[in-house]
Structures are given as C-alpha cells and as structure tokens.
Amino acid sequence: MSTDRVEVRRTAKLYIGGAFPRSESGRSYEVTAHDGKPLAQVSQASRKDLREAVVAARGAFPVWSGATAYLRGQILYRVAEMMEGRRAQFETELADAGAADPARGVSASIDRWVWYAGWADKLAQVVGATNPVAGPYFNFTLPEPTGVVGIVAPGDQALLGLVSRVAPAIVSGNTAVVIASERSPLPAVSLAEVLATSDVPGGVVNILTGRTAELVPWLASHMDVNALDVTGVPAELLADTERAAADNVKRVHRASDTDPFDDAAQSPYEITAFTEMKTVWHPMGA
C-alpha cells in the first residue's frame, strides 16, 4: 500500500454575485503555463454568464455606493490583508504566467489596494468643490460613482494589471464586471477567492474568465453597464468597442501606458475616470 498522497486539485470557476458557479454553458478552456505545462481547465464564460454578472453588479450597487467611504476604505484594505496571507499562491501563479519577479508583482498588487483604500474618504475632499456662485446660494460639487463598470483587464500583468483597474473603479462605490486576462486567468480566479472572504459584498466585483474577443462586444453593448475600462481591449477591437459603447453613452476609459509598477500608474484621476460630478444648489437667506 503506497503512502504517496494524491494532490487535491482546484477547480477554477467564475465569480458572480459572491458565488462561484461554473459557466452555464458548460464550456471551459485549457490554460497553460508560459512553458506550456497544463495548469487548469478554466470556465469559459458565456453571454448569459456575463448578463448574470451585470445583474449581480447592478443589484450590489445601492449597497456598495451607499456604504460610507470609511467602510469602503476598510474593506479595500482588508483585501490587501487577505492577499498578504496568500502570497505563495499568487507568486506561484505569477511564476506560471511567466512573471520575471513574481514576489514584486504580488507586493505591488497588495500595495495598490492599500493605496486606493486610503482614497475612499479623501477623494471628495480633493476633487469636490464648494463653488463661489454669484448669488445667494450654497452650492457644492461632489464625485459620485457612475454605476456598473465593465473592466477588460490587461492581458499581461495578470495580477497587478487587474488590481490596478479594479481598485480605482470600486473605491468610489461603483460595482464591476471584470473580464480576466484570457492567457493568464488564474491570478484573477484567486483574487475572486480573496474578494469573497474580504467583506466585499457579493456582486461588487464579478470576475469572468473566457475568451476576451467573445465577451467584450457583449459587455460593451450591454445597456445596463454605465462605463467601460478598455485598458485590456486588444487594439483591433477598440474601435468596435467604443462604437458599441455609444448605445447608452457609456463612459470609456483606457489607462495610460505607464509602467504598472511605477507610482504614476496609481492616481486619484483613475478613480474620477468613473465618477460623475454632482452639483447641488440651495438658496441661502434668513
């Protein structure tokens, strides 16, 4: 009788509404390491999965946007804490994805959550305004979340690229439907498992794995998505994506080409790319 233990393998699933379903289509695709080693069969999300994810994101929006900035900041910081505890897993996955320095990638990703966590209760103070109008009115302008943001994560930098897009989108109170890197989706699957245990309410972040070219047009044309982060949209799909976004006047944003490890890659203006400025007027008088 052999005493060799058989490894329990992980099943990579989608993350929708705080749950981990397989694709309703029953499809999956094989993911390999940079050296060709088979890693996993990953769920290949369908159009219906994407629609379910948008429904979940819309459902979570009132709760998340209604939370205090202090609470949202705490929860984003909690994500960083949980990632720290899973360093080894993320490092392995980044190494499989061919990262030159996996430890640095994980550290930068964790630090990015911490950096954006701190903006939750400061953003309105930096980008809001009280406006000195010519008349007896009190008038102020505050940033508010846009709504449901569709995020196409960059194909490379499977973890830092993903975190750098998701954290600024949700810190203001948006909810997100994220299409993970097609080539290296496993860090995104692991991030989903972190999010599920980090007090981020179910539905705030929904992560789909699958074929980018298949999913992006559905995301771009979905009438209940308010904005798109097209940073990870392949150049050849960009014009069509922007065209589809016109149907309900989606905000479209693409991060600059800054090195994601550079400090310049994090900015409060990445947050305001997905906020709306609301101006409120009230008369003044005795």
Partner: protein, 493 residues
Amino acid sequence: MERPAGVAPPWEYASAPESTDVVRLEDRYGLFIGGEFVEPKSGRWFPTISPSTEETLAEVAEADPADVARAADAARDALPGWRGLAPAERAKYVFRIARQLQDRAREFAVLETMNGGKPIKESRDVDIPLAAAHFFYYAGWADKLEYAFPGRGAPRAVGVAGQIIPWNFPLLMAAWKLAPALAAGNTAVLKPAETTPLTALFLAQVTQEAELPPGVVNIVTGAGETGAALVDADVDKIAFTGSTEVGKIIRRSTAGTGKRLTLELGGKAANIVFEDAPLDQAVEGVVNGIFFNQGHVCCAGSRLLVQEPVFDALLGKLKDRLQTLRVGDPLDKNTDVGAINSRAQLDKIAELVESGVEEGAEIYQPECVLPERGFWFRPTLFTGVSQSHRIAREEIFGPVLSILTFRTVDEAIEKANNTPYGLSAGVWTEKGSRILHMAQRLRAGVVWANTFNRFDPTSPFGGFKESGFGREGGLHGLEPYLAFDGGGDGGDR
C-alpha cells in the same frame, strides 16, 4: 378671454418693445476663418430668420467639408503661438472678450432675441451676463492651471477643439465652449446651430476687436452636415451640446480615432414637490423650470412629481399662474414666453403633445392670444400622466409639463430616476435632512433644492447616464481641455 371663477384677471400691460436700432446687420455673413470673414468654398448660403416674425435677418454661409478643413487648418496653424503664449498674456485676451461682451451687452441681447425668439428679459438678464461671466471666470484660470488638478503632472492644451453648440442658448453655449478652451491654450473651430448663428458671428467680431491672434477662434456655419464634417476633421477634441440621438452618432464616429470627447445631451428632469414645500415658491420654481426659454432647455423640469396631499392645491396654483404668463413678442420686455425656435421644432412639440392626448393624459392650456406670424406654442400642462407615456419619457424641448404624483420618498426617488437621462433634478421641501437625502440619491449631474435652472461659471454642469459625459463650468469644466504630462491622463473619454 374666459378665466376660471375666482381667478382675478391679470394686470394689463402696455407694450414695452425693445428697440432693435442697436443691432446693425449685414446682408450676408461669411465664415470666420483665420481671423477674418471669408466666402465659403461651397458657394452656398442660407437665410437665418426671426422665429417671431419669420423675416429673414441675414444670409450666412454654409460650410462644406473643404470649408471646415480650412477652419481646422487655421486653428492648427494658430495653435503653437497661442499655446506658447505666456499664460498671463493669454488670460488678458480672454478678459478682453468678457469686457467687450459687457460693453456690447444690449446689442447682443437684442440680437439673441431677434434670432432665437427668446424673451428679451432672459437674453438681457441671463444669457449675455452669464456668457461674459464665463469668459471672465476662465480667463483667470489661464495662468493658474497647475493649481487645478493637483498631483496630475504639468497641464497642457489638448490642441484643436471642434465645438458644436445648440440653438437654445446660442451665445451662452459659445461662451461655455470657448472660454475654457482658450484659457487652457487650445484653439477652436466652433459651429453654431443653423437657426441661431448670428450672435456667434458677432462674437467673431468681438475677437477681432480684442485682437485675438488670427485662427485661435474660427466659426463655421451650417447644419448637420457641417457638424459631421467638423467631427471628422483634423481636430483633437470634440465638444458637443445637443440631442442624445446626435451625441450617440458622434460617439460612434469618433470611436477608435483617439479624439477626446465631451457630450452634453438631453434630459427629462424631475422636479419633485413634497407636501411640506413652500407651495408658492415651488410654483414659481416649477414655472421657471419648464417655461424658461420656452422649455428649450436640456435641464428643464419637464416631469413634475407632486406628493399626493398637495396635488390639488399645487395644480390649482399652477393653473392660475399659467393664466398670467405673457406669451408673445419676445422683444417686449414684459414677455415671459417667446417664440418657438423654428417651425421644425414647433412641429415636434405639437406631435409629442398630440401623443399625450392620444395616450389619455389630460391637457390644460391657458387662454391667450398668440401672434399671427411666427412660431408659437401655449404653455401646456398634462395631468393623469403615467410613466409609460411618451410625454413622460421623451424630451419635448418645449413649454410642456407632465405632472405625476407620488406618496413616499422612495417612490419619488424611484420615479425620478426611472429614465435613461440624468442631467438635472429639483427638490422642493422645507426639511433639510430630506433635501440632502434626495440630493444624494437622485442620479443627476445637477440637483436644485428649492430653486431651479440656476447657472454659474464656477459650477460644474453636466449629466449622468445618457445625458452625456464631462462637465462644463467650474474647474471641472477645464479638465476636458487639458492633457497632463504625468500619469493618470484621462485618456479618450
């Protein structure tokens, strides 16, 4: 004229027409390119009329794509000089424009009313002073740009801005577009609406008087095809104010080009009156919300939501108030509601009002005598309106108010937000905590509490959802005209 029992007759007003002598019109206006008026290569001209008399005021040039390209080239040529000018000196030119507008305020007000049909008291007291105020406000930003967006890297002009503006506030929209663009160091090609080009062309004269370097501001006149040519021209940014329908077309045609884009589109604003509201003030606010500028306002309060206990009282006061609105000659200083901007717009309004009647809503219009010539529409109320009626969903852009009711705060929020638009909203209540609650939950770029239709150059204005993206006014209105050397450049939104 018959009036409901118990309603006193309105004051009889002697006519008080504003003299038009102050405006000297040429027979024809060319395109304003490279600092001078030039003949259009298209060889085409079209008349621009007074909507209150249907008389032709002047002919203006129709720019074809070659003309638009010429204007874009002039702006491109002028860009290095303007962008490279010391910011404090650039500011002085913009200040000069503000002062010129103040000096010529009366002339501009009369011309605005002649060409657009809006009451002279509005062009005199709102449009022209606010237009000057926008130039004055943004002029001061020119040499302070590095303070506007902290930590974002050095700001610089985006480049050549193509700007397309609507017919409802012709000079004011030109000011909203040009003032921040120029202050930030951009050059511009502006296309005013085909029905109301004249004050923009007079503004071109103002830029000449201000000795603005040639090509910094270029103005091309024409209709939709001219606008489409400008969107496709060699410009770095498009700023559009107009209908949501056209905004979507522009978004599609700039897709993949990398041109930056801001859109100020339509609205269907809810004006929400709670039972504890000061009703007389609310009535004035509701009237101002929908009948200001004949309802030709993208943020007009066109859906009135009234809490049930005060519905009857409010409706009675509103009908009484409508009886006292003076509709007629916009050049008369007593006039409250002027002419509809064009025959096409009048037809659109009539068609939508007809749909309201056909769908079962109850119409109310005050008795008033309308002039025989020109384009006119009576102030109109609809009661018995449901959310599915076209008059509750579609932007009418005319003096037509749809009235719905609600019982609870949550129902008011639900109904107010139940639209693809999100430009503006109004709240009327004495309860401060409720104002803040509503202001937070209404999905709209501007929320007026116990007031409506207020504008100021220091205040960001713009929409959520399908009312467009980007803001105009305030320091937030500068951002679309700046690029940044550091990280976090806003990219192509």
